[in-house]
Amino acid sequence: MVGMSVLRSAAAFAARLSPLKSGNNAANLLSRTIPRTDKVAVRWGHGKKLFVIKPSDYYDRRFLHLLQYYVLLTGVPVAVFVTCVNVFIGEAELVETPEDYEPEHWEYYKHPITRWIARNVYDSPVKDYEKMMAAIQIEKEKADTRLTQLEVRRHMRQKGDGPWFQRPTLDKGLIDYSPKSTPDN
């Protein structure tokens, strides 16, 4: 019976549609068009704001921020200082050594900071060389002394007339060489 009117069947159908899905309200139930999925206009202007759930990057960012801070704390003054030295003092030029002039040991370097370090902090290479040779000389003398000591010891032990391997005894002037009546006198 068409008397069970079209309206009733339509209402039953409408009741079966889920009310939560958007587009399913009474206003556009009868008048909506079928959405064409192939011709959708996509514009990424103001998209829907999403709350992206990801692990915390607070600690990483804090670490990198602190790293940057502490590196730049001394890095920037050092960079400024080195730039000023290079701009206002500048590197040295290579010239021929003039006759009868002995350059100081720092005058063999080019950059002004290297020259300053060589002049005020380090010993001159000549002094280092002499220090090393002095150390070698001392060690050589120690080694030679040890060898001669062994040699002397060997001789004294063999011949027995040196001071090292003597044993204290009674005075040999106390020996009585006179003839005796019994063996135990």
Partner: protein, 172 residues
């Protein structure tokens, strides 16, 4: 600025560019570009360099090349004279560094020649290539496989081995 070469010793040939004979009223784009380059790059850089040079003018300093006296080699040292050994070792190390730099200079010459000649360097750079091969062969035979703990004694022993091998090759 690094000094240019001696123009008196290597004079440039007389310029053969023809005189400008402009027959159009249109501007010359090459001239425009060169003027643009001059005002945008050349002039600022030159003024900056002149300013920096004027700052540095009061604090000019020089440095010298250090020359070392020759000392007796390891061969001329008495046995057990450790001071002599030390001085010979230091001299050997300085000579090793000098030889490394010599090889680098020869290599730089060959690379410059290669860069200049382009694709035809096999033909035109024969002298540099031959020099480089000779120098590297000699360096390899003298200092070749001594390693990081190279010393004058090890080099001397290598020389002895070389001389023994040469004597054996000669007698065989």
């Amino acid at each position: 600025m690094p000094a240019d070469h001696d123009k008196g010793a290597y004079p440039e040939p007389p310029r053969q560019t023809p005189a400008v004979d402009k027959q159009t009223a249109l501007p010359n784009p090459a001239l425009i570009l060169s003027k643009l380059f001059y005002y945008s790059v050349d002039l600022p850089v030159t003024t900056f360099r002149d300013a920096v040079d004027s700052f540095r003018a009061n604090n000019k300093s020089v440095y010298y090349h250090q020359k070392f006296r020759r000392v007796p080699d390891l061969i001329d040292c008495q046995e057990g004279d450790y001071i002599c050994y030390y001085e010979a070792e230091m001299q050997w190390r300085r000579d090793y560094k000098v030889d490394q730099e010599i090889v680098k200079v020869i290599q730089e010459r060959m690379r410059a020649c290669h860069q200049r000649e382009g694709a035809s360097y096999h033909q035109n750079c024969g002298k540099e290539i031959q020099q480089f091969n000779e120098v590297t062969k000699n360096f390899q035979s003298r200092y070749g496989d001594l390693g990081a703990y190279a010393s004058g004694r090890k080099c001397l022993m290598k020389q002895k081995e070389r001389m023994m091998a040469a004597a054996q090759a000669q007698s065989a």
